[in-house]
């Protein structure tokens, strides 16, 4: 006799369908997760992965489809129901309460008063057991992204889940943190908790997952054992086209005159929890791409703000663009001397989401594209500029009149990168060029960046994605604790050596973490 509660697949979904206004997010999708399995869910942005896992977690109600959980047909009503069944989920954008402590955050996720007894001790025990160091009394506001993720994982583990869903868990972690996370996940799988793992990082999926379900445009397009495929093959199934890896760039000799020079750039962060920039000195020649690696929260956004002019530097000479002292200038003036910038946050920072693409193109491009005459906007020229960006960068949208928020993350990012690249900058600084962007769009953005450097611009890439930095950069520097290390040539750098620089200073700056790590 087979007891389906103990044998057979943990979760089987068939015919899952969910229609959103104007978009069929899931179209008869199937998914089977076995016991003790680490199962990957792959697909581009907008392929319907998030909708599918939200259905499992009870956040989204499907229009049709059947869910079999441990041999029983279930209709998952809400997240509480999912948790009682044994489903835990770690979100990509953490659902944490900033003003509350670690313990308070976790207590909120637990149903009954009985579960909350001795919670603090259990948090300490579980976090030690699984190598997820956490100080239960610290306020979330003060914690790093990696620590925040640990809270979510510990919160799930406290409920003894049978299935743990992880949405892009490693995008915010250092290489060594990723390794530790994998150890934890493998151990969980061995102990009987299956894991559904959503990631863009195919290399990681190959290393970690024993099975994969691939989705495209809301449909299943394949099942495979990831280890048996190459990264290229997996990516091609995902986006249904043949990928040409960008040709490695010939290393440019740095004999050309520098176009962007930072001289002991020092800025106190205006934000209470920000990182101060400490005497950053760098020099970028035309035609060169410099990659700045680092873990989130080590001064990347402050560096970006300082370069773009959102936070002017005290001394004008600390930032030189094409030999002009620009430290005191605002973003608009810096654009005037051929500096262009793409900030990290697309929504509300890079783009005004409620405005049209044409209007967004205008906001950054009006000087360099001469879109204003006597204070009046040249709408035809503005629309043509937006149209030009849309066509050159293959932005999938209805046209320049579409609102920025109607675009998917990848398409909006292509538009924003295109908006700056097409202004023919002398210096381009991009923070997180392909964060949360699908493989096809990322490739397009990478190619545009390389072409721009080829044309003689100095490009700085600030990214937490080491793979991306190794693909693009000629030289690599690391930002940690507001200091930037001396750039090294790519051929002299390894992932390990860069990873050490990323982690070393950061760990020394986080006393709480050190104390717990013992």
């Amino acid at each position: 006799m087979n007891d389906p509660m103990r044998t057979g697949p943990l979760l089987t979904m068939t015919g899952m369908t969910k229609q959103y206004p104007g978009c069929l997010a899931n179209d008869h999708v199937s998914l089977t997760v076995e016991r003790n399995q680490i199962h990957a869910l792959l697909g581009e942005n907008g392929a319907g992965k998030s909708t599918l896992v939200k259905t499992i977690y009870g956040v989204v109600k499907p229009d049709a489809g059947e869910i079999i959980w441990q041999g029983q047909k279930v209709a998952i009503q809400n997240p509480g129901h999912a948790q009682r069944l044994g489903v835990g989920m770690v979100f990509q954008h953490f659902s944490l309460f900033e003003a509350l402590t670690v313990t308070e955050n976790i207590a909120l996720g637990l149903g009954s008063a009985r579960e909350r007894i001795g919670l603090r001790e259990r948090i300490v025990r579980i976090s030690n057991e699984y190598g997820l160091p956490l100080d239960p009394d610290r306020v979330v506001h003060d914690l790093s992204v990696g620590e925040r993720q640990r809270i979510e994982i510990v919160r799930c583990l406290l409920q003894n889940p049978k299935l743990l869903i992880m949405d892009e868990p490693t995008s915010v972690l250092t290489p060594s943190e990723v390794k530790k996370l994998f150890v934890t996940l493998r151990r969980l799988a061995a102990e009987g908790c299956s894991i559904l793992y959503i990631s863009h990082k195919l290399e990681e999926v190959r290393a970690l997952c024993s099975a994969a379900t691939i989705m495209r445009f809301g449909k299943n397009v394949g099942e495979c054992a990831p280890a048996e495929k190459t990264v290229k093959e997996l990516a091609e199934i995902m986006i249904n086209m043949t990928l040409h890896a960008p040709t490695p760039r010939p290393l440019t000799a740095s004999s050309k005159p520098p176009r962007l020079v930072l001289d002991k750039l020092t800025i106190r962060s205006p934000h209470h929890f920000g990182t101060d920039l400490k005497a950053i000195s760098l020099s970028l020649a035309g035609g060169e791409i410099l990659g700045i690696a680092g873990i989130a929260g080590n001064g990347q956004s402050e560096l970006m703000d300082a370069l773009s002019g959102e936070v002017p530097a005290g001394k004008p000479e600390s930032i030189m663009i094409d030999g002009v002292a620009a430290g005191h200038m605002g973003p608009h003036e810096r654009r005037g001397i051929h500096g262009c910038f793409v900030p990290e946050e697309r929504n509300g920072h890079g783009a005004v989401t409620a405005m049209t693409l044409a209007e967004n193109a205008f906001l950054s491009g009006f000087t360099r594209q001469a879109l204003v005459r006597f204070g009046i906007i040249n709408t035809r020229k503005t629309a043509a500029f937006a149209e030009h960006i849309i066509r050159s960068f293959d932005v999938r949208t209805t046209g320049p009149k579409a609102e920025a928020r109607s675009l998917s993350g990848g398409n909006l990012q292509k538009f924003l990168v295109g908006r700056e690249v097409l202004q023919d900058p002398a210096v381009l600084v991009i923070n997180q060029p392909t964060w949360g962007v699908d493989a096809g769009a990322a490739l397009a953005i990478h190619e545009a960046i390389m072409a721009l450097a080829e044309a003689g611009a100095a490009v700085m890439i600030i990214s937490q994605d080491l793979d991306e930095i190794f693909v693009l950069a000629d030289r690599i520097a690391v930002i940690a604790g507001g200091r930037v290390s001396a750039p090294v040539l790519k051929r002299e750098a390894t992932v390990e050596s860069i990873g050490r620089l990323m982690g070393g200073t950061a760990a020394a700056e986080a006393p709480g973490e050190m104390a717990l790590a013992e």
Binding site: V59, F97, A99, L108
Partner: protein, 307 residues
């Protein structure tokens, strides 16, 4: 001298009570992320409801109940418009204040100048007869003690109970709270109704105890001071109490100075408690980190669940 001190302390506590009640209610409302600027209107509605009911029935306790009902009714009106229909909270709150003022003036037109039964002062044999301490600590009416008790319970509840944790969570991130399965909108309804009840109670105190008669706009902006108290105390109950008492003290001082006949324009003296309280609270709550830690991040933001 002793008599003067007793008068000062007694009237400080009395003047602070309506502020304390209304501000405690608004504190709870804002803790869950809702900004209700209708406190003044709800106070006026409570004041006239209490006065009219007590006047018609002769029973002050029925007046207090009527004030509670009136406050809750207006608060629920606000909740329906701003939480269910998702209208802008600031505009809705302002409209509520305008509505409460007009409505109370309409209902109260026939009650102007009529004396009403007054909420009795509690008299505890022996204790109330202790010099100084007796009248200051044991000589008030029930609402004074109730206001302090409610503040203490609210403070404890917010800091140390699971209910308080849920309230703070909803105010800090309604999306996260929703994702964890907490019913955001019903929780906010309950908090708004609680705030309305306390504002109504504050109004009842005004018309049945503090100045036991009805006059149009008799709350004289105390509802607004209550809202300001919540913000400038950085959402901390203890500082709410300090701010309310400070306001009460300045209120007495300005009247006292006026009575002495000092040559200061009376309008300036009347404004002193309002201005002074705000200045002092601004000075004591300048710590940006503390404000960020206590400020409900969702304050004034509408919540829409996406299914």
């Amino acid at each position: 001298m002793t008599a003067l001190l007793v008068a000062f302390l007694v009237s400080t506590i009395a003047a602070a009570t309506p502020l304390l009640l209304a501000a405690t209610g608004e504190l709870v409302v804002e803790k869950v992320g809702v900004l209700n600027l209708g406190v003044e209107g709800m106070m006026l509605a409570g004041a006239i409801a209490a006065f009219a009911t007590a006047n018609e029935t002769g029973v002050t306790s029925l007046g207090v109940v009527a004030a509670l009902v009136a406050g809750i009714a207006l608060a629920l009106l606000f909740a329906v418009v701003s939480l269910t229909l998702q209208a802008n909270q600031t505009a809705t709150g302002l409209a509520l204040t305008i509505f409460g003022r007009g409505f109370s003036a309409l209902v109260g037109a026939g009650y102007v100048g009529i004396p009403a039964p007054t909420l009795p002062k509690i008299h505890i044999p022996l204790l109330s007869d202790i010099p100084v301490l007796g009248p200051v600590v044991f000589g008030h009416d029930i609402l004074v003690y109730l206001s302090l008790a409610i503040l203490a319970v609210v403070a404890w509840c917010i800091r140390s109970t699971h209910l308080g944790l849920i309230l703070r969570a909803v105010g800090d991130s309604h999306d996260a709270a929703h994702a964890l399965g907490y019913p955001v909108v019903p929780i906010r309804y309950a908090a708004v109704a609680f705030g309305g009840a306390l504002a109504g109670l504050a109004g009842a105190y005004m018309s049945l105890a503090y100045t036991p008669l009805w006059a149009q706009d008799m709350t004289a902006g105390r509802g607004w001071v209550a809202v300001a108290l919540v913000t400038f105390s950085a959402w901390r109950p203890f500082w709410l109490l300090i701010g309310a008492w400070f306001f009460g003290a300045l209120m007495y001082l300005s009247l006292y100075v006026q009575a002495l006949g000092v040559a200061v324009p009376s309008a300036l003296l009347s404004a002193l408690p309002y201005i002074g309280t705000v200045i002092v609270l601004v000075l004591i709550s300048r710590d940006a980190r503390r404000i960020r830690l206590h400020r409900p991040a969702m304050l004034g933001r509408p919540f829409q669940s996406r299914a």
